[in-house]
């Protein structure tokens, strides 16, 4: 048993960083007050980059579990922590302009982003149910406040009300499920649950498991637990939408992979049915509803639901191969979605446009941002040379190898339909002309800061798409840390 707290140095540093952002924001000298949001963004971005460096430098070969299996600091956790820190850096970076223009509390904003990253990292590390629950709440509370930070915007208020109320219910449901599992087995650690679940009266773990899935399904926005998603995505400040769509989804998926792999791999035939049903529903409802959307943020909300459906296909067919493919998909999705939101956020701040029709003429107003958004949408649709092609291909191949070829057929069809609605945005940008007098009739450009980020994310999207080998090798080493896949 480890009681060596130095292993958690990155986590302590992150918590400290969140406080530091708040404190600096409070005691900022008068001269810098006008650059308040820039200062907070720089501290958060640079701070998270330093934590990322520390995380990588202090990473040790699988240290196993800590504190009676509360937390794992293995390579699987490391992989996701790196992904989350990268996401946090990108979100803080892209919100520099947005927060300055639209918000009054830059310090709080960036501190909460850091806290959300901390919560997400703990979710990927959690080795037992209660730690998992607390980490989820840490992430969720940070997101609740962030969604409501768009002060003076009624949609933001509506979004936060829905998010908090439904989130609280889902947390309660999940907690009830955890209590049933604990009551039946006397254990909360994932590894001890395995082997105990079939020795108790069957309905209790089944109901417990179902409630747990419902709670996590809410965080994932899996259909039918997705109803909050479009309103929250639309109402939340755009960088926060990016954060929810990437960070909160990936963290929940990481948690689910570890839970299923460590605690329930022996019962795959039982839970596979549930996940297959969720996957089919999520993909179908996500794509079909997305077709009817007119607001870009809502469309991206439904598109993220569809992407979750693809991930559920992989989860239902969980094996080492599909765990690898899911992680690869999440990495590619992070680059892609963050690139898309960088442009969406810019268009919202500089042109005040959120509707698909409002994107008319973006290609002539800002060729670069139109190119980035097009690349991101093509990647989401799963077209080569972008990340989405190879990551979906890997995901579907892995699922087919586990005997779910028909489910793959559904997924591929959903992917086809999704191309239709992504093309609607592309068409608006490139084919339709901006009406006279609109902000898109003249020139419009990303700020140099955002442009640098967009270049980096675009390069990442293409790099994963044309040469995924090294990343995939790294991911493979990470999933080897999971119990059932040890050494395979």
């Amino acid at each position: 048993m480890h009681t060596d707290f130095s292993i958690l140095l990155p986590e302590f540093l992150l918590a400290g960083l969140a406080l530091a952002v708040l404190v600096v924001d409070m005691v900022l000298p008068q001269a810098l007050l006008r650059r308040r949001s820039d200062v907070a963004a720089i501290i958060a971005t640079v701070g998270m980059a330093l934590v990322l460096a520390v995380t990588l430098l202090t990473a040790r070969e699988n240290t196993g579990f800590l504190y009676e299996q509360l937390l794992f600091t293995d390579r699987f956790a490391l992989l996701f922590k790196v992904l989350f820190l990268g996401t946090g850096i990108a979100v803080s970076w892209m919100s520099q302009e947005y927060v300055g223009a639209k918000m009054r509390h830059p310090g709080e904003f960036h501190a909460l982003v850091v806290l959300a990253v901390l919560g997400a990292g703990l979710m990927a590390s959690a080795g037992e149910l209660l730690t998992a629950y607390i980490s989820i709440e840490l992430l969720s509370f940070a997101l609740y406040v962030l969604v409501g930070l768009g002060r003076g915007d009624r949609r933001s208020a509506e979004a936060v009300t829905k998010y908090v109320l439904l989130g609280a219910v889902s947390s309660a449901v999940m907690l009830f499920g955890i209590s049933l599992l604990y009551g039946a087995t006397g254990q909360t650690a994932f590894r001890y649950l395995e082997g105990l679940l079939d020795q108790v009266w069957a309905p209790v773990p089944i109901v417990g498991f179902a409630l747990l899935v419902a709670g996590l399904g809410f965080k994932l926005s899996a259909v039918p637990f997705h109803l909050w998603t479009p309103d929250v995505y639309e109402g939340a400040p755009t960088p926060v939408t990016a954060l929810i769509s990437v960070l909160s989804k990936s963290a929940t998926v990481a948690l689910v992979i570890r839970f299923l792999a460590e605690g329930a791999m022996g019962y795959q035939e039982h839970w596979q049915v549930a996940l297959v049903v969720l996957a089919v529903l999520t993909m179908t409802v996500g794509t079909l509803t997305a077709m009817a959307q007119t607001n870009v943020k809502r469309l991206l909300a439904y598109s993220s639901i569809t992407q979750v459906g693809f991930v559920l296909v992989g989860l239902a067919a969980l094996s080492e191969g599909s765990a690898n493919a899911i992680a690869l998909h999440l990495a590619g999705y992070a680059f892609t979605n963050l690139a898309a939101f960088t442009v969406v956020s810019m268009v919202e701040v500089r042109a005040g446009r959120e509707s698909i029709a409002g994107y008319a003429g973006l290609a002539s107003a800002s060729p670069f941002s139109a190119m980035v958004l097009t690349a991101a949408l093509f990647s989401l649709a799963g077209l080569p040379i972008f990340a989405g092609f190879i990551t979906k291909f890997a995901l579907f191949t892995a699922a087919a190898q586990e005997g779910l070829l028909w489910l793959v057929a559904v997924a591929v069809l959903a992917s086809l339909v999704s191309l239709y609605y992504y093309l609607r945005i592309v068409r608006a940008m490139y084919v339709d002309k901006a009406e006279a007098g609109s902000p898109l009739a003249g020139r419009l450009a990303l700020s140099p800061v955002s442009a640098a980020l967009a270049w980096a994310l675009l390069a990442g999207t293409i790099a994963v798409g044309v040469y995924p080998g090294p990343l995939a090798g790294w991911i493979d080493a990470a999933t080897n840390a999971l119990g059932p896949f040890l050494g395979t």
Partner: protein, 502 residues
């Protein structure tokens, strides 16, 4: 292998990709520079293609110029390149049409930068598909070739209003891309099914073909997967009844896109049936060959009859493409070495011929602003070169001896008569209909006394002339001296048919 032999195939993929990347960083205002880069890249591609074609040693046969680079170990995907005889000829075709297309594209006024970027991505996809011997990369490049089509047509295309209906470029672009991607969904499922069923842990086409030969892809499996592959790829080859995207797409696409599209992109479909369908699912091909044969025959007749009813030049050429791709499908369906050779040669012949057609139709349309064969007349006395070349392409199209179409179609018919004479006879009837619509069109548009409004039409400019000349050479060369082309095809055809056991 010499340095060039080792790297020529990958260079053919990297060249257009690098061109696209370089163009992204060039200022959009430097139009002359952008056009120069675009044409230079096309010329280099032509040289490289010609080199690859000549480097293929038909006496040795099999896959040559092979390269393997590890890419994604976890799934067993490698970047594998190589050409057999059929692919070598297709590479040459791509080089010719790419160069001609790049030259014609320089005639456009508006925003050449984005246009050339997308055109080069398309070309990279086409080359990649023809030279990949890894199933994953085959599909990767296949999809890459499709993606730019949407933007190329939707942005730079033209909308047309006809007396009874209208076709907007957005509609045609969306229809084309959604139909092709929908078909590629079938291919995608088929590819994953083959990979999982073969259980060889690799996408190497040679290994998967061996798995088919060993019986690991059993007959029942092949029987249900083959139709997915046949329809999936067949749609891009203009297979009836899934051909409707093709004439609409041609009508709305700008000239150089039509050239590449009908010239090489449709060949990807037929090539996919050969590579994936016939090589990896030989038993399935054997079971379904008659269906393919019949559909091909329907294509020939249906396309020809539809072309007969059209007055718009681009619709006529579009439907004639559907008809001519029918010969390819027929030839594949014969499972006969002569018929199959004819099908492969027809892919090449139709590629250069139809690209020539579109070059000339584009030239006429740009000057007269109409493509209506009932309005145009007497152009032979106004645009002599354009008219002469159009008539030449028309004669190749209806199978006049001495031109490429004749050689290819005769081989297909011989193959057809050796297997299903009735279908062969129907196919020949299709060729007769072709003669009717081509000769009628030529008579209306090029002969007679020209109206006053055509007095100021100028003949082909230098760029169009270069493009047309590039395309005419192979049309005539195959027609009078087909031996070198047939020699290259022979080992490829024999290897595929040996796998089927025919």
């Amino acid at each position: 292998m010499s340095y060039f032999e080792r790297h020529v195939l990958e260079s053919l993929i990297y060249l257009p990709m690098l061109t696209a990347l370089v163009l992204v960083f060039l200022p959009a205002k430097g139009r002359a520079l952008i056009r120069t880069v675009g044409i230079a890249s096309g010329a280099l591609a032509l040289v490289g293609s010609l080199y690859a074609f000549l480097a293929y040693d038909e006496a040795v046969g099999g896959f040559q110029l092979v390269r393997v680079y590890p890419w994604f170990a976890g799934l067993g995907i490698d970047f594998r390149l190589g050409v057999d005889g059929i692919a070598a000829l297709m590479v040459l075709l791509t080089g010719i049409v790419t160069f001609a297309g790049a030259v014609v594209a320089a005639n456009r006024d508006e925003d050449p930068k984005a246009y050339y970027v997308l055109l080069n991505l398309l070309v990279a996809g086409v080359y990649g598909t023809f030279v990949s011997t890894d199933l994953f990369f085959f599909f990767f490049f296949y999809e890459l070739a499709i993606v730019p089509m949407y933007l190329l047509i939707a942005i730079w295309g033209s909308s047309s209003v006809f007396p009874t209906f209208s076709r907007t470029k957005e509609y045609a672009a969306l229809k084309l891309v959604l139909m092709i991607v929908a078909a590629s969904v079938l291919v995608w499922i088929g590819i994953i099914a083959i990979y999982v069923q073969a259980d060889a842990g690799t996408f190497d086409i040679a290994v998967l073909a061996q798995a088919a030969a060993d019986g690991r892809l059993d007959a029942g499996f092949q029987r249900w997967v083959f139709p997915l592959v046949m329809v999936g790829f067949g749609l891009l080859a203009g297979m009836w009844p899934f051909h409707t995207w093709s004439p609409d797409g041609h009508v709305s696409a700008p000239t150089s896109v039509s050239m590449l599209h009908a010239g090489v992109l449709m060949k990807l479909g037929a090539f996919g049936i050969i590579r994936v369908g016939m090589q990896l699912l030989p038993q399935g091909m054997d079971d379904w060959s008659l269906v393919l044969f019949i559909i091909g025959t329907i294509n020939v007749v249906y396309g020809a009859v539809s072309a007969l009813a059209q007055t718009d030049l681009k619709y006529v050429i579009g439907y004639s493409s559907v008809s001519h791709m029918g010969y390819v499908l027929m030839g594949l369906g014969t499972l006969d070495s002569v018929g199959f050779t004819g099908a492969s040669l027809q892919m090449f012949s139709h590629g250069v011929m139809t690209a020539l057609f579109f070059t000339l139709v584009g030239a006429i349309y740009e000057r007269s602003h109409t493509r209506d064969s009932l309005v145009l007349n007497g152009l032979a006395s106004r645009m002599g070169w354009a008219s002469g070349l159009f008539i030449l392409a028309g004669l190749a199209s209806l199978g006049l001896p001495g031109l490429s179409g004749f050689v290819a179609e005769v081989l297909v018919f011989i193959g057809a008569f050796r297997t299903e004479p009735v279908l062969g006879a129907i196919g020949i009837a299709g060729a007769a209909i072709t003669a009717v619509y081509i000769l009628r069109l030529v008579g209306r548009v090029f002969f007679g006394t020209p109206d006053k409004q055509w007095d100021n039409l100028r003949d082909l400019n230098l760029r169009e002339g270069i493009a047309a000349a590039t395309l005419v050479v192979p049309v005539v060369a195959v027609g009078i001296f087909p031996a070198p082309f047939l020699d290259v095809l022979r080992p490829g055809v024999a290897a595929v048919l040996a796998g089927i056991g025919g």
